[in-house]
């Protein structure tokens, strides 16, 4: 299961060009769906309006070089390490799902487009494909059954499904059915393998064709929003938020109400962050 290119084996029944056309169609569906989403929800319009407002409220200019460094910071911190999440469990689950999905996606594309007759095929890709899918399963099911806020904070049943779940459920279905299909295929194939291939294809089509209705496009607009937030901090507009007081700065330290903190330690500890919120 970890060493064979399942898509090459499938080419006995489905021609490789059909599979390749399917992958290209999925890419087009994601691009089209995201564009539709942006226009339909007018998110781009609001995004740029917010950017303008932040510029108007700016107290200092952010240079081009600084903007580049902020973009790098956004990529490293918000995108590559999911720093937005303050709950470490959600962060780990998100990282597992995100990296798993990227690995799974790239491996799928490579295996579908690879020439099965070439010398270095299939190489490490089937292994990466399975590992990626398993990572998505671990992160995704963990999130679904335990970490989701309406389950963990509101005590709702983990089996209650709403439209917002379209993305996570179709993703989980795609990788789960994909893995089962690969397993049944490598252990002899037969009718089960065809059934799970069918389910795998349905789930994958829903995942990529459901972009306008799911939260798939958060992959594109979340980094943009994170970057905008960082610019608002750098230019002093702060999205209308007050500046965080710095108790080592004499001006802040000597402000009237800070009397009460004069002899308090500088680091007061984690406070509410010590515990996960689950006392509903």
């Amino acid at each position: 299961m970890f060493t064979t290119n399942h898509f090459a084996e499938l080419s006995a029944t489905i021609s490789p060009s059909v599979m390749q056309a399917y992958v290209i169609l999925m890419v087009l569906l994601v691009a089209g769906g995201t564009l539709f989403d942006v226009i339909h929800k007018q998110s781009a319009k609001y995004f740029f309006r917010k950017g303008k407002k932040s510029e108007q409220n700016a107290v200092r200019n952010v240079s081009g070089g600084e903007k580049v460094s902020l973009a790098v910071k956004t990529t490293v911190s918000d995108v590559l390490t999911s720093s937005e999440f303050c709950n470490p469990k959600r962060r780990v689950a998100h990282l597992l799902g995100m990296y798993g999905f990227v690995i799974y996606l790239i491996a799928t594309i490579v295996m579908v487009f690879a020439d099965p007759a070439s010398a270095d095929s299939p190489g490490i890709w089937p292994f990466l494909w399975a590992v990626g899918a398993l990572m998505v399963c671990v992160g995704g099911y963990w999130f679904w059954f335990f970490i989701r806020v309406d389950v963990s904070s509101e005590g709702q049943s983990p089996f209650r499904v709403i439209r917002a779940d379209l993305f996570i459920l179709s993703l989980l279905a795609s990788v789960t059915f994909g893995l089962i299909w690969a397993f049944t295929q490598s252990s002899g194939g037969g009718v089960w393998s065809m059934i799970f291939l069918g389910l795998y294809l349905i789930a994958t089509t829903v995942l990529f064709a459901g972009v306008p209705w799911s939260k798939f496009s958060h992959m594109f607009f979340k980094p943009a929003a994170a970057y905008q937030k960082k610019v608002a901090v750098a230019n002093g507009a702060l999205d209308n938020l007050p500046r965080v007081a710095d108790r080592t700065d004499p001006e802040d330290r000597d402000r009237h109400s800070m009397e009460l903190l004069k002899d308090a330690p500088l680091n007061m500890g984690l406070g509410i962050k010590r515990e996960q919120p689950r006392h509903y």
Partner: protein, 159 residues
């Protein structure tokens, strides 16, 4: 001034749900973001505002001091122990406030506690209040009432 949530900033962590003494911060069942289900019942304690790690909760000012178009934003730095507020009126006037989170070293708030040993980390992490296990006599088992202890309430005001 009841609170409301900017749903686009909220990341659905649930801290506000957890802390609201009035139990009116809830997670929207459709969007998985927090919202104040009953602003009329808000105690205006601002526990949720201060607890939110995403600065997603704002207070709605009353029309007499902050007519429509104002904003009240807060930021809290738990580790440094400060809370900063910014009130922006619709004519552009701004007021900034800085208040401390009044957690103080043991024995400085209530000098009479100075001679008591400071609570251990385990006690700090516990759900009980200081002295609670002792005075509600948890270790003795059973629920202790005035009646079961043959005590009587005296007239007067108790705190």
């Amino acid at each position: 001034m009841p609170t409301f949530v900017y749903m686009t900033s909220c990341d659905g962590c649930g801290h506000c749900v957890d802390i609201c003494p009035s139990d009116i911060m809830h997670i929207d069942p459709t969007y998985r973001r927090a919202y104040n289900i009953e602003p009329d019942m808000c105690w205006e304690c601002y526990s949720c505002v201060k607890a939110c790690p995403q600065n997603a909760i704002d207070a709605r000012g009353y029309a007499d001091f902050a007519p429509l178009g104002h904003s009240v934003r807060v930021r809290r730095d738990e580790e440094k122990g400060t809370i900063s507020w910014r009130v922006k009126f619709r004519n552009g006037t701004e007021k900034n406030f800085l208040s401390p989170i009044t957690t103080k070293p043991w024995g400085t708030g209530y000098p009479e506690l100075k001679d008591e040993p400071a609570p251990s980390n385990e006690m700090r992490d516990s759900q009980h209040l200081y002295s609670e296990p002792k005075y509600i006599r948890m270790d003795d088992g059973d629920v202790h009432t005035l009646e079961s202890n043959k005590l009587k309430m005296k007239l007067g005001v108790y705190y």
